[in-house]
Symmetry: D2
Subunit: 353 residues, 4 copies
């Protein structure tokens, strides 16, 4: 049997429609650096999906870490840091890219990957109430991810509360939407693209994990927020010469609701996987409603299973178990899910003996 891949949602090239679009214009010439008409068309569609005005700024970058590092560096003053969950991607898994840009990540305790408006308010009150604050890094913006690194979701009420406290303290609110399609398609979700455009100062609509070959679309509802962002992107090595490739992909993703359908396909696969796990009595250990599913296996079982299925190591527990993550995506097939459940059932039987 071929190896199964549930390690992440970036393990296959692209949605076939996206690939077809790229292939169909393989030798058509375009102006460089995203100054082409395809990019313009894609941006218009994104604005429409966000119910954003015509001057809403949209930029296309290549990858997630790059996008976070570039946007955060662009939003912060030199003496400011970014408030984020201690588990946020920028705080843990970007190899210090934010610090490379000269900024501190100001970590907040996380609730399954989330932070609250109350925490942001407390951090600001503490900062502004500290007589030594001029010797400290000033909170300059807030970073959250939707869904989070734990698969959890901010509700609309939570996002509105964050928006409010951010506005009160003049902190731009930035949402990392690397897996946004799966959030949008999730039954539990009540935050729409227009909500994001209304409540955030910056967010990105993830492409790499959501149907595109690669690419992330950054949205600044207020186009004056970051002057010279093009040059900042270039300085960060994040400007794609063939910007039209990003335009083509987002044009495809925002045609006939493909972005939504990608999310729905990934969530359908997650539902099937969850049903299979329930039948086996395997408990989810993190309350994620999206396409990331966290379970725990005996270390030995994890090792055996790893030979047949790629999964994502999460943490080693002290009781001899390993916490791991299974991720579905829009291309995950029923057969793959059933094969994984079959492999897992052998492990649970094994454990039961």
């Amino acid at each position: 049997m071929a190896k199964l891949y549930f390690g992440s949602d970036y393990q296959q090239a692209a949605h076939p429609d996206v690939m077809a679009r790229l292939a169909s214009q393989c030798t058509v010439p375009f102006p460089g650096y995203g100054t082409d008409e395809v990019c313009e068309a894609a941006k218009a569609k994104i604005r429409a999906a966000c119910q954003a005005p015509a001057d809403c700024a949209v930029y296309f970058l290549v990858g997630g870490t790059q996008t976070n590092a570039t946007v955060i560096d662009a939003l912060l003053k030199s003496y400011q840091g970014v408030l984020a969950a201690e588990t946020g991607h920028i705080a843990v898994h970007e190899a210090g890219a934010i610090e490379f840009g000269g900024h501190k990540v100001l970590p907040l305790k996380n609730d399954w990957g989330k932070i609250s408006a109350a925490q942001v308010r407390k951090a600001c009150e503490t900062y502004y109430g500290d007589d030594n604050r001029d010797h400290m890094v000033m909170p300059g913006m807030v970073y959250i991810s939707q869904p989070t690194e734990y698969g959890t979701l901010y509700s609309l009420a939570e996002l509105e509360a964050l928006h409010e406290v951010c506005a009160a303290y003049h902190l731009p609110l930035y949402v990392d939407g690397a897996r946004l399609a799966y959030a949008l398609a999730c039954r539990e979700n009540d935050v729409t693209l227009p909500d994001l455009a209304r409540l955030c100062d910056a967010f990105y609509i993830g492409g790499t994990k959501c149907g595109a070959l690669f690419g992330e679309a950054v949205v600044f509802p207020n186009p004056d927020l970051v002057p010279h962002f093009f040059t900042i992107v270039k300085q960060h090595g994040a400007l794609l010469a063939k910007g039209f490739l990003l335009g083509m992909q987002y044009d495809a993703l925002f045609t006939d609701d493909l972005y939504l359908r990608v999310g729905q396909a990934g969530m359908r696969a997650a539902d099937r996987l969850r049903a299979g796990l329930r039948k086996l009595g395997i408990r989810e250990v993190i309350p994620s409603p999206t396409n990331q599913i966290f379970i725990r296996l005996e270390n030995e079982a994890y090792k055996r299973l790893s030979e047949k299925a790629e999964m994502s190591f999460w943490s080693q527990e002290s009781d001899g178990t390993t916490t791991l993550r299974l991720a579905t995506c829009h291309l995950t097939t029923d057969e793959e899910i059933d094969a994984l459940i079959e492999l897992l059932s052998r492990e649970t039987e094994h454990a039961a003996r």
Copy 2:
């Protein structure tokens, strides 16, 4: 008539064979971050083409500025700068990406984009002979491009001389090969991939402008030169999650000599364009033997032509002319060249009246 595109060699998506390869594995799952077998296969082919030993390190990045910034930051100590032609891409057109990483570009006068071993030696002698050198940025490496930003080529003898002086002063020699395919295919060229692997400490084999959809392959003949380069790449936001996309492309480019054929196709187009210019009596103003061709037009002629053909603005001259660059690539067709020559002939007739 459709607009003609001679602005650069990144104006079309990819060589059809590269695109076909990507499309053929559109939904096949792979491990992430370049840890897959396709990348391994591609690296092996690159090593073979370079006649490099099995431990020669190869990394795949996405774009040129990103690659330069990452490699240079990895090679330099904090107190060192990079010697480069004042016209080098890193010195002019990367929006300060090297300085963003904390390093100074130490500019040397250029000879149509090139610097010489003698200049490097002089710069080192001046530095080491200056009593105030401990207050100055130490030369820490040498950056050259092959072909240069002016389309010119280093000869093997010139490269060997640079290698020698670099070795004498313990300066890593790094070659930016954004357009390397066109150099390799150029009649005047006598520097091969094995020469680069033998004489350089680092170089990259450009993909974006040479047949790939995107991508640059960095080669470190001595794998111990840059420990933890993977993490450095990640920190620079330059690590592609779907590393296998780069593996597929370089595997295709180094199968059946496609990389060489790409270069040859681009040079054939350049030859045809040069022949046409000669017939019109239009002089090349920079002695480039590769796929970048520099001519001068009356400002008015340049403006008129720009509406029908994208060209690259180079500089405004004081005599009312504009210097501009025409670039061919592997996808440039005879029809496009003939159409451009036709447009140019109208301008020369116009000028003759």
Copy 3:
């Protein structure tokens, strides 16, 4: 009555002997940048006090934050961070100077300002045991302060344990000795300068808070640890043109045990203050044995007292009290202490009514 100053140990210019030394050579010319004989003499005395060999490197810088930022940037590779107590000066009160240099502070829980060898080992085990470590900031060194920001001390046993784990993981161990004189003079202390030179890879002997007008002496027992440190210091804007000023001061401080006597004077003052507090029944809220003394006052009492005595705000408590720090130094007089105790006694009487 004149205002009292117990806010910190940098509130008076210098020990009179240090000032006298500076004044005595006010117009004597010297070579610049610390290349003079006075600096050499001072370094020799520091080496002797540390029982360090003749090649032990000593550098003089101006201030503490500057010294931390420069040393840490010099010791870390670009992809590494510094392990430190979450309460460490570099983690809180240096306005992001470490991040400005491109590095992450990796925070560890603190035990009254201290971290343990076990915590460092755990952090390293977690890092090296994490399959995703190549996407994370690598622990590259350990920062501790002696005494800590809470006035507490590492015992020799604790320092030896830290040394051992640091050696095992190839982490340079760096000690911030901004207030080192008070540690050395403290009854509870069993860590000597020779111990520091034996167990640390870098440490600084604080001058600014310990008798000097200004200045910090960085010691690298292994002189090869940081090549080109002079240039790194310059690049950080930390190189004093008149380096001889630092040489004079450290020469004075390490003549006739002045550095030790400075510490003893500060500790005698602290003892007297502690005795006074005990008499008043005012409890110390942090177990500091050195010249930093932490107490808690009703907010109103704190406010009243602040008008007559400068103290250091520490934190606002939820029960309506303020935690504050009182610092003595080598110049604190018995009269000042008695006056402060008198002021405090009025507050405790006030509270008792």
Copy 4:
């Protein structure tokens, strides 16, 4: 005979009046970080000397490189660079401190250390006229020094022209006044402190080389130009805990015209040295009217003389001579000058034989 020191103007500790002021308040306690009344008084005197309004911002830093790096980093956006003479201190002798802060120094050809308004205008026109400017570092401010590193002076007319072009292109104009006292006292000078306050966006009144033990006073005529400069100074490791030391010194320097007298004393010494050189027929090779005097000696003569007099190496000439700099300062005595002239006369006699 004792060695003579003409290497620079930072080779002696301080003007005796400044030292006396420091010594007189050696044990007087003050609030930290420049929040004391002495600093306020000194700032008021500086504002008065500059005929600047009460809200003109003044900050005290420790050294020149540090001041340049901090001010320039504070004034520039991340995507901007600083226009400066290729010979400017920041371009050559600050070990890459500007690049460490992430910014490019944009070098302009120098006229004995000076740049002109026409050059700045040309650089801006070239930038704004270049179709590729969004890929380039944007000119973000102008750096000049008064006097320059070659001892030359900007005239009032030249400064006004620079002010005008800077205003037209929204470039803050910043003046490095490390040796400003000598400029102000120079016969050829027509630029006053009020002129600087009127025409510059930022400048610093050098203390280290002009009478102070150490220190530089940064003036921002528009206090809103750099919000949170205090924290930026801290982040750069440039905030002196004992800020009152800087206040005391500048209070002394701006009492009874001491700053002016310091400059006059240095210029009187320079005049005497110039007269002596003329008598010996030794030509000045750089047209400096201030306290830096440049001459050329046979290499052998330079070597011999160096054993008896410290001078500053400037450059090695191809004709077997060395260009060197002699600097006087406010403490240079007639005896020292006469002794140097005597030494030089022996060399000229030697050469004549």
